[in-house]
């Protein structure tokens, strides 16, 4: 008998060892079972007399004590959170109702917006935020996101149906309207796209309609509402999407461990059972992400109580943190110093993150190249067009004069656009091509005027002295040199004009300082300081150019006097 007992114990030991070796295989629970157990425990805790008045209760227990779930939702985000009188509607609202129902409590909604949703959680004025909140690494330090994510948005580029745009190569060199602070702006900039900045997303559809914007980029969830309007959908379409951001329900980082766990499991179940999908269908929001997520959460390895921590099942947070510069701390110290002494909100975003610093440095270098190039091109075209317009040959003189009149008749923006369009027909669009096109355009515009001045000076010199070589006059080349000296004031004036005109090159995507700073302010704060520095930079550059040009004029005039 003892031998049998020993044998039985040995078998039990082997079985126990096997269980210990393969814990997942034996201990894995369905999310439903894990949730039921968790809720049962919380309800039991809430039911203990006096427990609800105890300090440091987990919010899940508190929800059962109060029999209500306080959900923060948006009220002016069409299709996701909207309110007409007492009636609330939208995907987020219905998700809140479904979660509350699953917990067996009543939902109580509180209005939140992008700025208030995190503080309201931290102040314990809401239990849960379901408020179109993108999950990024920066926010991970502020709230506890529920995983799996309940929705995913992406930035979508919207434009007229007639416009052939399918991807990034088609938008290089174009302008896209965006909102300041949109997380995807940095990505747009990296594709040689110019930005037109707006404070509010709400104006973008109107700016598309009145043709201020040809293309606009914003969350697809934002445009989804407008695409439910037949007029808008008839004229515009989503060209392409990028920068996917998972949206997370969120709870406070402290005192919400059990609530977060319960919501993780609930979210898993909602994805697997198509609850989120059904709510999305009912609110006419995009289904693609939710359909893919349903397939994920039906997979055996994900459909477990540990699925929400399994990297193979959940999506990572968007890494939105920008790498700081080595001197970011000093920049902040300077900002604080100025603000403390002057009360002025002083900000130096270009010195604080590596992408901004890189744009800033490149912007300065490109601006100086542009100024130098525009000055050289103006001088060159002035001499060439001046010589052609001074020619005695009709076939050289009149085309040059006609060209000059055309150039003088074209507004600067139009000449730049023409130069860029021609350059793009021959070269693949790039920053260098845009800078080159701008240099040629500025050189032609100002050079044609200066060239006309040279030709007029040449005409007066000929009238004064007689001209042709061999007829007792002075050689044409020498006469031309004197004409250049005589028109020194005009040449200098157009050289200064060319230098002053260089910032307009940003209109065709040349990455000079104005363009760089516009890009920086699209994802960082400090617009006032940034544009003040820009103005100071360009005024300083023009002052230096004026000084150099004055010296050049003195040299030309001295040369004329000597002649």
């Amino acid at each position: 008998m003892r031998a049998w007992r020993t044998l039985l114990l040995a078998l039990l030991g082997i079985l126990g060892g096997a269980v210990a070796t393969f814990p997942l295989a034996v201990n894995a629970e369905t999310p439903d079972a894990a949730l039921a157990k968790l809720l049962e425990g919380a309800r039991a805790e809430a039911a203990v007399p006096g427990a609800c008045t105890a300090a440091h209760l987990d919010r899940l227990v508190q929800i059962f004590c109060e029999k209500r779930l306080r959900a923060g939702i948006r009220e002016y985000y069409p299709l996701f959170g909207a309110r007409e009188g007492e009636a609330r509607s939208g995907y987020d609202v219905d998700v809140g109702r479904a979660v509350a129902k699953h917990l067996g409590v009543e939902p109580v909604f509180t209005r939140v917006n992008a700025a208030s949703r995190i503080p309201l959680l931290a102040e314990d004025r809401i239990d849960l935020a379901i408020a179109t909140m993108g999950h990024n690494t920066q926010r991970d330090g502020q709230v506890r996101f529920i995983r799996p994510h309940y929705y995913q948005s992406e930035t979508t580029v919207v434009g007229p149906r007639a416009l052939a745009v399918k991807g990034w190569p088609d938008v290089a060199g174009r302008t896209i309207c965006v909102t300041i602070g949109n997380g995807s702006n940095a990505q747009i900039i990296s594709h040689n796209v110019r930005l037109m900045l707006f404070d509010e997303a709400g104006v973008l559809p109107d700016r598309l309609k009145d043709d201020t914007c040809t293309l606009a980029a914003q969350d697809d969830s934002f445009f989804a509402y407008y695409f439910t309007h037949p007029d808008f959908a008839k004229n515009y379409e989503q060209k392409f999407g990028f920068a996917q951001v998972p949206w997370g329900m969120a709870v406070a980082r402290t005192g919400s461990d059990q609530l977060a766990r319960a919501l993780d499991l609930t979210s898993q179940i909602f994805h697997r059972d198509g609850v989120f999908l059904g709510i999305a269908r009912g609110n006419s929001v995009g289904l693609g992400f939710l359909e893919r997520q349903q397939a994920v959460w039906k997979r055996p390895e994900c459909n477990t109580d540990t699925g929400s921590t399994n990297p193979a099942c959940v999506l990572p947070a968007l890494d939105a943190a920008l790498q700081p510069t080595p001197f970011a701390g000093r920049a902040t110290a300077i900002e604080d110093w100025v603000e403390a002494r002057t009360g002025v909100d002083f900000s130096l975003p270009m010195f604080k993150t590596m992408p901004a610093w890189s744009l800033f440095k490149d912007g300065i270098v490109n601006s100086l190249i542009l100024v130098a190039g525009a000055l050289a091109a103006t001088l060159l075209f002035a001499l060439v067009l001046g010589a052609l317009q001074s020619s005695r040959r009709f076939l050289l003189r009149w085309p040059a004069r006609a060209g000059s009149i055309v150039l003088q008749s074209s507004p600067v923006v139009l000449t730049l656009v023409i130069a860029a369009a021609v350059a793009q027909a021959f070269f693949h669009y790039s920053s260098a091509v845009a800078i080159g096109a701008a240099i040629v355009a500025l050189g032609l515009m100002n050079g044609s005027n200066a060239g006309q001045a040279i030709a007029e000076a040449m005409h007066t010199l000929r009238a004064e002295r007689g001209s042709a070589q061999g007829t007792g006059g002075i050689p044409t080349t020498e006469l031309f040199g004197r004409a250049v000296s005589r028109s020194a004031t005009q040449i200098v004036s157009f050289l200064i004009n060319a230098a002053k005109g260089t910032p307009i090159a940003s209109f065709i995507g040349a990455p000079e300082l104005l363009s760089a700073l516009t890009d920086i302010t699209s994802f960082a704060s400090g617009r006032a300081t940034t544009y003040t520095l820009l103005l100071v930079f360009y005024v300083a550059v023009v002052v230096v150019v004026v000084w150099l040009c004055d010296r050049f004029r003195s040299w030309l005039e001295h040369r004329q006097a000597a002649a």
Partner: protein
């Protein structure tokens, strides 16, 4: 190019856009005349006031219009109030204001010169101020096309809006040529007006000096 189709509404839109260019230029010139006139008087006063006026004129001459436009666009809060009244300028007004440094410095330079001529007993020289201001007005009309960069629907913005829908370079160039023609005719007409004014003033001055 054979398939170039210009929508029916294009030409009315272009003309309406050009009216905006004229509107911007007129506002910029009005502000420029007021500010430039004061600066011209200040410069002729001499002393500290003259030095300050000269420095200000120099700075305004050096300020690139396009940068000033973005500066104003970003520095003035959208909800700016003065004595309880909203003073945030519209994009059109921002373009006009960005042209004020140019127009004011131009008016100050020419105004000071005219005042000198007047003091020297040459009314004809002083009257040259009028054709010069006319020239500045048409330069401002052309420069106001910068407004296209901040979404002002002026003439060039209308042309660019159509051009963006044309895939072929040839078609785009035809459209751009139409733009140059419209603006060119305006500019040349303006300069012709200026020359006419100069001749008229010349005859006027000659008649006056010949009179007993």
């Amino acid at each position: 190019m054979m398939g170039l189709h210009i929508p029916t509404g294009f030409f009315p839109d272009l003309l309406a856009g050009m009216v905006v260019n004229f509107e911007i230029a007129a506002i910029a010139l009005l502000f420029g005349l007021a500010l430039g006139g004061l600066l011209a008087l200040g410069r002729l006063t001499g002393g500290v006031v003259g030095a300050i006026a000269t420095a200000l004129i120099g700075l305004m001459r050096a300020a690139p219009t396009f940068v000033v436009m973005f500066f104003l666009l970003n520095i003035i809060p959208r909800d700016a109030m003065l004595f309880g009244v909203g003073v945030s300028p519209s994009p059109l007004m921002i373009v006009a204001l960005s042209l004020v440094p140019y127009s004011a410095s131009y008016v100050a330079d020419n105004g000071a010169e005219s005042l000198k001529q007047l003091r020297a007993g040459s009314p004809l020289g002083a009257l040259q101020f009028l054709p010069n201001v006319t020239r500045a007005f048409f330069v401002l009309v052309m420069s106001s096309s910068a407004g296209a960069a901040i979404g002002v629907t002026e003439g060039i913005a209308v042309i660019l809006r159509e051009a963006v829908l044309l895939p072929a370079l040839g078609d785009k160039l035809v459209l751009f040529a139409i733009g140059i023609l419209f603006f060119g005719v305006t500019l040349q007409a303006g300069f012709a007006l200026m020359r006419l004014l100069q001749r008229h003033l010349g005859r006027f001055a000659t008649r006056n000096s010949a009179a007993p």
